[in-house]
């Protein structure tokens, strides 16, 4: 039987150890706690709340609660009965009195175009209604659109407490009033194009960054420190320079009357009347984003390449491998960690890019972020904007999760 080991104050050592470890765990957690709570309450929860807006229609539902309830018994195959129309009349009257009918008009307009003017006109005429006569006839008298059953169906659908239709819009589909799901007319399709373009640009920019970063990272890692420190400035100076400065320098270079075109014309490569269209299209977005994101590929690649011993390649060649074979079999596989770290970083940054495409890309070079901003700030269709944001966020989180699996968050290095 082993003797129980006790500490000087007579406590069991194992118990004491557990206590100390618990105290250290608590201390560590308490140190991280302020930032954790700050980020969770000021950032993570607001993100979820915002994403909730993509399915949330509670406000609209609260405006027209009774209409919505009465409509549940209406099957939508023929015009609604007096129970529906009268309830709607009284609730719209309350809305006009409390001045929120404008909001109702805007929200219903997302369901079916023409609702804004319809609600506004009806609201103005509500005071002329005879509350003892047939309401449907009076609605139709105010505006003939009330005779179209689709407007009543839109009203039914538009007052649901929540819905998932904005996710269909995100991919250019729509739900018809009979419940079937169809693609929207071809000339209105824009979102799928933007998603594909965003993925294409993100993948393409990542690939270009990889192709351009690989040789220079290698050169930086094999040069003597004196020279590589000097050349590193070429990578770090753009890295530390404002994004807007770099974007504006690309605007100066790529414009039709810009420096690049001027040079090409004066050298005689391009005729003055056929200057290249380098800006306000995909080419501009692509070139500018590649240059702006290149340092994010070079830095992880360089830090991995720096650790690869040159004797490995020498050993391979001394045993008869050609330099290309040695590179393919020995050097390249050793840089996988750097490639994946850099690629994922560049991809994640590229997929959410907003400023550069907006300035350099023009209408033909914008990406999904620009569309989200448009719906947030101009069309004010926040449900659609947040539905698109949710899809984008899921895409980014999947890549982030992969990054964590492959590289590990702890190994993230900067500068």
């Amino acid at each position: 039987m082993t003797a129980e080991i006790r500490t000087s104050d007579g406590e069991l050592l194992s118990v004491k150890l557990k206590k100390v470890e618990r105290r250290r765990r608590t201390t560590a957690f308490l140190l991280a706690a302020p930032l954790l709570f700050f980020i969770v309450f000021a950032y993570v929860i607001p993100i979820f709340q915002m994403l909730g807006r993509s399915i949330d229609n509670a406000e609209m539902n609260s405006f027209l609660t009774e209409t919505h309830e009465v409509m549940q018994t209406w099957d939508g195959s023929e015009m609604p009965g007096e129970d529906v129309t009268s309830t709607f009349y009284y609730e719209l009257k309350t809305a006009v009195e409390n001045k929120y009918h404008g909001k109702i008009a805007t929200r219903l307009n997302y369901e079916k175009g023409g609702f804004t003017s319809l609600i506004k006109k009806t609201s103005r005429k509500l005071k002329n209604f005879d509350e003892n006569a047939n309401f449907l006839d009076q609605f139709i008298d105010v505006h003939k659109k009330w005779g179209d059953i689709e407007y009543w169906l839109a009203l039914k659908r538009g007052t649901d407490a929540y819905h998932f239709r904005k996710y269909l819009t995100t991919f250019d589909y729509e739900q018809k009033f009979d419940g079937s799901i169809e693609r929207i007319p071809e000339k209105l399709r824009i979102n799928v194009t933007l998603w594909l373009r965003t993925i294409f640009v993100a993948v393409g920019v990542t690939f270009c960054c990889f192709i351009l970063a690989y040789p220079i990272s290698h050169l930086l890692s094999v040069l003597p420190t004196r020279y590589s420190n000097l050349l590193m400035i070429c990578v770090l100076l753009p890295f530390w320079t404002s994004l807007l400065v770099r974007t504006s320098s690309w605007m100066v270079l790529l414009q039709k009357q810009g420096v690049l075109n001027d040079t090409l014309v004066s050298l005689g490569f391009v005729a003055d009347e056929s200057r290249l269209e380098l800006m306000y299209n995909m080419t501009g977005t692509f070139i500018a984003m590649t240059q702006i994101l290149l340092p994010f590929m070079v830095l992880p690649l360089y830090s991995v390449m720096k650790t690869i011993s040159p004797s490995l390649m020498r050993a391979a060649t001394s045993m008869g491998a050609t330099p290309f074979h040695a590179f393919r079999k020995i050097y390249f596989p050793l840089t996988y960690a750097g490639i994946s770290a850099g690629s994922i970083l560049v991809f994640v940054l590229a997929i959410g890019y907003y400023i550069t495409p907006a300035l350099v890309g023009g209408a033909k070079g914008i990406l999904i972020s620009n569309r989200i901003a448009y719906h947030m700030q101009q069309s004010l269709d926040w449900s659609l904007a947040t539905a698109m944001a949710t899809v984008l966020l899921i895409a980014v989180l999947v890549v982030y999760w992969l990054y964590n699996k492959i590289v590990g968050i702890d190994n993230m290095r900067l500068g």
Partner: protein, 287 residues
């Protein structure tokens, strides 16, 4: 990088083309920045190299766009610069304190749920800015802090902390625990050990994290587009540039850009000095 004499011709060709490719990539990286600088001294108001500039005639150059930047009434660059510095200063302090303290906890061996907590803390850096911007805007608006000075500082603290956490945990990962143990065995209290031993050793990491936070705030454009809400008194340099670039590419913007390039050069020098210092402290020889 000289090749041995016995190198075959095809490898010689390959080697020199490799050097040419590398040079081209370095030019691609750095040249766009240097195009801006001479254009900011342009005497004309068009953004291109005039014949006079190419011939290096002194009258083709002028400082008029710098004068316009400082004294021009049309562009509130003065307010913008002041605001940018204020936001960056306060958010750097907030982000550095919160981030450093959190990093100390995260580097402990005893930290529970380390991976999960780290992922949450880093998320503002990974999630697209357009999503962060709108989410922060909605939550600040609910608290009545949208388009206010504290609101913008809070937004910038959120964006700056991941950089501080990453740089400080990186510094702490190379930290030798036996030094602090030696201090405590010699009778130092934990607080004393922290301020006398740990803090001086991780200072380069903290400063470099603070620099990241500073630059993040100073450069930030997407979130502030949402949060500032078009209030001219809250404008910053990036916001002014964004507005200017959307209207017209003016030489005044080139002058501002040149000033920002000078600023980033200074930051680069500071980070380089810090890196050398931290390598020296840790006994890695710096050349």
């Amino acid at each position: 990088m000289a090749l041995p004499k016995y190198t075959e011709m095809r490898y010689r060709v390959w080697h020199y083309s490799y050097l040419v490719i590398c040079t081209a990539v370095f030019v691609f990286l750095i040249a766009p920045l240097f195009v801006i600088i001479p254009l900011s001294f342009n005497a004309e108001q068009y953004i291109h190299f005039s014949d006079g500039m190419l011939a290096l005639q002194p009258e083709a150059f002028s400082l008029r766009w710098y004068e316009d930047m400082i004294y021009g009434t049309k562009n509130p660059w003065g307010i913008a610069a002041r605001n940018s510095v204020y936001y960056a200063f306060f958010s750097t302090i907030g982000a550095t304190v919160l981030g450093t303290v959190a990093a100390l906890g995260l580097s402990s061996r005893y930290m529970p749920y380390k991976q999960l907590i780290m992922s949450v803390l880093i998320s503002p850096m990974i999630i697209p800015l357009i999503i962060s911007g709108s989410a922060i805007f909605f939550s600040l608006a609910k608290l009545g802090l949208a388009a206010t000075f504290p609101g913008i500082v809070i937004a910038h603290i959120i964006l700056g902390t991941p950089f501080v956490v990453i740089t400080v945990t990186a510094t702490l990962s190379g930290f030798d625990d036996s030094i602090t143990r030696a201090a405590s065995s010699l009778g130092s209290t934990p607080t004393n050990t922290f301020f006398k031993i740990t803090l001086p050793l991780i200072t380069p990491g903290i400063i470099s994290g603070a620099l990241f936070a500073f630059v993040t705030s100073f450069d930030e454009i997407v979130v502030i587009l949402f949060v500032a809400g078009g209030d001219r008194n809250l404008t910053t340099i990036p916001l002014q540039m964004w507005t200017g670039l959307r209207e017209q590419l003016s030489p005044t913007i080139m002058a501002v850009a040149t000033c920002l390039i000078v600023l980033s050069t200074l930051i680069l020098i500071v980070t380089e000095l810090l890196r050398r210092r931290s390598e020296r402290i840790r006994g890695i020889s710096a050349q």
